[in-house]
Structures are given as structure tokens and as C-alpha cells.
């Protein structure tokens, strides 16, 4: 493992796992239109994961994207614990989309200036998609935050409950200083500041209160391969078909 591989792998694993989780709403979404929208966004995430795994395969001698996605063990994944949590009720999934996608949006914005050309190019390529994902999340959060007492309270509870997990997105790797020094990525602390700057005005518009994050213990571990018990069943289900015969041609 090296700095750039570690960065790309954690981004790819985040995108794959949240894409898979969000796709679990397909056919079960709260309304037909929202079902289609959320599923479409989930598919976009799988697309981002594919792009990132492809970079690892082409530039960093890793296995092909299918094998990276479907045959690794849970402890080899570098996703944050937030993305692996079950979908819960729609309030939890929506707040997760909001908090995660704002982080992702800002991460790619920062990477548009990266000294790594592949990441800089990818950030250009998918900026429209992520801009739309954030718009989707913002619009819902503002709508439901200002909706009924129930919708407001459920969003607020989901937000408060999610905050330790959301802060876990910004867990640093051992290569943090190297990434910053080599102008590959400005680092997780800088990202977290930008993230706070972009979620705060939306939460204000939604009438929701950001918990005091200085008192919260972030759910770290995911970036080091320490996961919750929820990841393995997800991986088993996701890879079920391929793993019946990994060598079959499709």
C-alpha cells in the first residue's frame, strides 16, 4: 500500500458500499419518483467506484475492478463505517446521503487541483453528477426540515444519531502527511472544514441543529479495515452471484 493507492481505495470503497446500500431502496422507496431518483444516484456511485478501481487496476497493478469489488474480505475494505450501516428508515438514509455526499462533493472539488492527473481528470468528469446528488439531498433536507413536526423531528434525530459515524468519514490514514506534502490531496482536516462550511447553511435553511461536534467521538476504524458487523453480510450478498464461479465469463 502506498499513499495514492490508499486514497483511491478508500474513495472507491466508500462509493461502492454507499452505492450498494442506497440501491437497497430500489423498489421500496417512499414514492415512485423518489425511488427512481435514489436508485439512479446509487447507480452513479457504483459508476464512480468503477472509475476509481479502474485507476487502481491500470496505474497501480491491482486486480480488475470486478475482483476488487466482489472478492475482497471485509478487513481489506477501507470504507468508513458510516457507509456500511444498514439503510434504516428513510430519514437515516437521506441524512446519510446529505452528509456523505457533501463530503464527497468537497473531496472531489479539492482533487480537481491534485498533482495526480487521473484524480484531477476524474473530478472534472463527474462534477455534474455529484453536484446533482448534493442538490437532491439539500432539497429533501430543506423540504422535510420545514415539513411537519414529525418530519422535522425525525430528520433532527437522524442527524444527531449519525454525527459520530459522519465524522468517521474524515479518519486520517498513515499517509496523510505524504498526500499533503506531494499536493495530491489537502487532507482530511481541510476537507472536514469545507464540509462543515457547506452543510451548515443548508441545515440552517432546514431548521435543523448541527450537534456540537467538538464533544463527539468520531466512529473511526473503517480506514484501517476495522468494520462493524454490517459490512460482511453486505459483501456476501453483493458478491453472491460472482462468487458462485469467479472465473465464469459474463
Amino acid at each position: 500500500m502506498n499513499a495514492i493507492k490508499d486514497l483511491i481505495l478508500k474513495m472507491a470503497d466508500d462509493a461502492l458500499i454507499i452505492g450498494h446500500r442506497n440501491s437497497e431502496w430500489t423498489g421500496l422507496g417512499p414514492t415512485l419518483e423518489e425511488d427512481i431518483s435514489f436508485s439512479s444516484i446509487a447507480q452513479d456511485k457504483l459508476g464512480h467506484a468503477l472509475q476509481l478501481y479502474t485507476i487502481l487496476h491500470e496505474d497501480h497493478e491491482e486486480q480488475n475492478p470486478d475482483l476488487l469489488a466482489f472478492t475482497r474480505k471485509a478487513e481489506d475494505f477501507r470504507c468508513c463505517q458510516y457507509v456500511e450501516m444498514p439503510i434504516g428508515a428513510y430519514d437515516f438514509s437521506l441524512i446519510r446521503q446529505f452528509l456523505f455526499d457533501h463530503a464527497e462533493y468537497n473531496r472531489y472539488q479539492m482533487l480537481s487541483n491534485s498533482s495526480n492527473n487521473r484524480l484531477a481528470a476524474l473530478s472534472q468528469k463527474i462534477k455534474g453528477e455529484i453536484k446533482y446528488h448534493v442538490l437532491h439531498a439539500d432539497t429533501w433536507v430543506i423540504q422535510l426540515g420545514n415539513g411537519t413536526t414529525e418530519s422535522h423531528d425525525r430528520l433532527q434525530k437522524a442527524l444527531t444519531d449519525s454525527m459520530p459515524l459522519a465524522l468517521g468519514i474524515f479518519e486520517k490514514s498513515a499517509f496523510e502527511a505524504e498526500l499533503i506534502r506531494n499536493n495530491i490531496f489537502e487532507g482530511e482536516d481541510a476537507l472536514r472544514e469545507r464540509w462543515l462550511g457547506s452543510i451548515t447553511p443548508i441545515l440552517q435553511k432546514a431548521g435543523l441543529e448541527l450537534p456540537d461536534i467538538s464533544t463527539i467521538e468520531p466512529a473511526y476504524g473503517g480506514r484501517k479495515g476495522q468494520h462493524t458487523g454490517h459490512l460482511k453480510p453486505l459483501l456476501d450478498e453483493m458478491g453472491e452471484v460472482l462468487n458462485t464461479d469467479p472465473t465464469a465469463s459474463w
Binding site: L28, T31, E33, S37, P86, T139, E237
Partner: protein, 122 residues
């Protein structure tokens, strides 16, 4: 009930208490799709949404996802005014008035003749 779909089993459907009230639904919005800048926005269908912002988001997914798109318009269906369906007969016209149809003018022949003449000049 055990479903083949693990996601359904996870839902634990028996415990759901929420019930939808009669007439509890979102308004409909007419969707107009624009292929490229300056092109006509063409009516493509409807979506259900609680606000114009969400109507735009749903319309983008429903109608902008699988074709080239530049923009989408949404208009609340209740803001669209129409004739009564029963008044269709007002649009009927007697066949004798073909002189009122654009096809009644024999311009195409003249245009073609003009083009032909100009080509020969060049």
C-alpha cells in the same frame, strides 16, 4: 411471509403502523423537456412532487436521464388551462375549406423551380 428478496425480509412489514389518509397525495406537475439551448421545451409527461424544487429533481430523473438534455421546465398541472374534453368538436372543420390549409398553397413547386434555376446560374 418470507420473500426471495432479502431486502423485503429486512423490512419487517408487520410492524409498520403508518397509514395513508384518503386524498393524501402530492400535486402533479407537467414536465417539459429541452434537448438543447434555444430548442422548444416539449411536453413529455408528469411527476408528483410536494414542491417545484422536488418536481424538477424528479423530472430530471424521469425524463432527462436517458436522452440528451439541457433543461427541464415544470408547471403545476393546476396552472394549466384547457378546453373541456367535450368541446373537441370545435376543432373540427369541413373538408371543403382546404384553401385554409397551408397545403392548399402551391408554393413548393415555385421554390423548387427557383432553387433549380439558381443552381444552374452557379
Amino acid at each position: 411471509m418470507v420473500s426471495l428478496d432479502p431486502r423485503i425480509n429486512r423490512l419487517d412489514l408487520q410492524e409498520r403502523k403508518e397509514e395513508t389518509q384518503p386524498h393524501e397525495h402530492w400535486p402533479t406537475w407537467e414536465v417539459f423537456h429541452q434537448k438543447k439551448r434555444g430548442a422548444q421545451a416539449i411536453h413529455v409527461g408528469i411527476v408528483h412532487a410536494p414542491s417545484p424544487e422536488l418536481a424538477l429533481i424528479f423530472a430530471k430523473e424521469q425524463f432527462g436521464r436517458r436522452q440528451k438534455s439541457t433543461n427541464i421546465w415544470v408547471v403545476k398541472s393546476s396552472e394549466v388551462f384547457t378546453f373541456q374534453t367535450g368541446d373537441e368538436d370545435m376543432f373540427e372543420t369541413t373538408p371543403e375549406k382546404s384553401y385554409r390549409d397551408a397545403g392548399g398553397y402551391r408554393v413548393r413547386d415555385k421554390i423548387n423551380a427557383f432553387k433549380k434555376e439558381n443552381q444552374q446560374d452557379q
